[in-house]
């Protein structure tokens, strides 16, 4: 990893699930640039896909015309992914454990759980007026 470069890339995407292929490819690319192995990079891509899915479906409430901003920052052995939407946020205390036997058959409610399981840290910053930002970090 000592030869892995550092860098930053920011993209502004339409609020549409069709961008998820782009998120997948970019996350794999920048994770590998950080010197992260392919298996871990695939898992980081799963977390990034969940973050953008949440931004499109819940944050921006599937409203056309809104945007999702994604920033990748990488350095040797570490990647930080920040996803910003235009929504009003949500109550984190309402996020329940989907592996609880009473909820394991549910058809929704796994996105944030997946992000937290995959990444080393997941932090939310919410504002009624400036949108929601989730910052996720993963080390090699």
């Amino acid at each position: 990893m000592p030869d892995a470069p550092s860098g930053m890339e920011e993209v502004v995407l339409p609020s549409d699930l069709e961008v998820l292929d782009n998120i997948d490819e970019s996350t794999l690319k920048y994770s590998r640039l950080a010197g992260i192995d392919n298996g871990t990079a695939g898992m980081i891509a799963i977390a990034a896909i969940e973050a953008v899915t949440n931004a499109v479906q819940h944050g921006n409430a599937a409203c056309g015309g809104k945007e999702v901003k994604v920033r990748y920052e990488w350095e040797p052995g570490l990647i930080r992914i920040t996803v910003h939407d235009e929504g009003e946020g949500f109550d984190l205390s309402c996020v329940l454990d989907p592996t609880d036997p009473e909820r394991c058959m549910a058809s929704s409610g796994r996105g944030i759980f997946i992000m937290r399981e995959v990444m080393d840290s997941v932090e939310f910053e919410m504002s009624e007026h400036s949108g929601t930002t989730v910052t996720m970090v993963k080390s090699a």
Binding site: L20, A45, I46, I49, A106, S107, G109, R110, I114
Partner: protein, 112 residues
């Protein structure tokens, strides 16, 4: 997302390809299985060969199919599950729910 079904005896093999990530396209798979259940089919294999990854919404669509099949007292098996989807099943502890097989042949034969 494309959905194509072929019958192997009394087993419906539903081939899914493309993006399983929510939105109207994910309804194709659920509608297909629902129609087959109404036609009396009890045994299902979902072949995910053409699906490299899914998100939690796609996972929800698979859970909805599983629940529909269970309610009709049928059985569901999955095959050609990619490493990334397998990891997602592991994280969400759904590996114990879904019956997964490496190949379509093994999935179909699991009902015998």
């Amino acid at each position: 997302m494309k959905v194509k079904t072929q019958m192997e005896g009394d087993v419906a093999v539903v081939h899914v390809s493309g993006k399983l990530m929510g939105g109207p396209e994910s309804e194709n798979m659920r509608d297909e299985v629902k129609t087959l259940i109404e036609d009396g089919v009890k045994k299902f294999v979902i072949n995910l060969h053409g699906v490299p990854w899914i998100n939690s919404t796609g996972l929800g669509a698979l859970m909805a199919v599983y629940t529909s099949v269970q309610r009709s007292e049928g059985a569901l098996a999955l095959c050609h599950v990619s490493d990334r989807i397998q990891s997602l099943f592991m994280i969400t502890k759904l590996l114990t729910i879904f019956d997964t097989h490496p190949s379509e042949k093994e999935a179909v034969e699991s009902f015998k």
